[in-house]
Amino acid sequence: MKNIFTIVFSITMMIFLSGCAKNQELYDYSSFTKNKPKSILVVLPTNESLDIKGSSATLANSILPLSEAGYYVFPPVLVNETFKHNGVYEAKEIRNVSLEKLKEIFGADSVLYINVKKYGNNYAVLASKTEIELEAKLVDLHSGKTLWNKETKFIKSSGDSGGGLIGMLVTAVVTQIVNESTDQAYEASMIANNILFRTNCNDCILYGSYSPNFNKDLQLK
């Protein structure tokens, strides 16, 4: 299992650090570059999927790519316990907590709202499909402005290879994982998060101040 993690990790890091694919329209980064958050409060994702673990898997798997992008990521479990102690249990309720209150308690620069649209396995007659669909929105806690948002869809069917270099690569990796892992959706969510929060593409999140690449995003050159 550890080997698999190493493989997944090194590959996602490659995806992450590769600035080759530039095929999307350039995102409007004006608010992002004006506010430059140092820290991100990732709150419990809202979950539209049928699997209750869609939220926790997505939250746990967001830590690595966001940290490597150069942000301080607040400890998700403690953050969640803090909400619970204040009587806020549901991800939907967390979305209604005022930005002012979040800033006051956590001292964060920004909050990341993730919605899990799809998470899990659909079993069709002939093949099973692991499908992850995520949308993320980064909101500045000082100005209230949306700094960045993005969606990612990642599908792993038995015996297919997705489109493009990243899709092909990711499929190869997941195929290896699937042979090892009993929790396919959790492993697929690792990859989906690494795609959603990769850097150096035209709609990618910008580097944060802990990254040696801070202010050196390829898409801004």
Binding site: S67, Y72, L78
Partner: protein, 118 residues
């Protein structure tokens, strides 16, 4: 055959990315899946806390060995786990480490220490 194809894809990717001048091994932090799993299990209120504690302690040791920084939130997560088994001194110690490494957490960690983590 599948293995061959995977190897081929990986190999060609490495070549391709090298051509783009990417630097695939330069991570900022030391990563271990056990940290991610600990967060996942805690959120689901599953898993054995003592096992998670020893996993995280081992990651901290490995980070020193590899001369890599500890990832954001790891010390805080360890602090939480210690508080759950009633080891308050180790809990506070790890929360302080989080603050020391990441000043961005200072306001929140101070809030936690005043309120009690649990």
């Amino acid at each position: 055959m599948k293995y061959f194809i995977n190897t081929f894809i990986l190999g060609s990717l490495v070549v391709l990315l090298t051509a783009c001048g990417s630097n695939a091994n330069q991570t900022i932090y030391h990563w271990d899946k056990a940290y991610i799993d600990s967060v996942y299990e805690s959120l689901n209120e599953e898993g054995d806390i003592n096992t998670q504690i020893s996993n995280l302690e081992k990651i901290i040791q490995d980070s020193y060995t590899n001369k890599k920084k500890i990832a954001p939130g790891l010390y805080a997560q360890l602090g939480l786990l210690y508080s759950k088994i009633g080891n308050n001194s180790k809990s506070i110690m790890n929360l302080d480490k989080e603050m020391e490494m990441f000043p961005e957490s200072k306001q929140y960690i101070s809030f936690l220490k005043n309120k009690g983590v649990k």
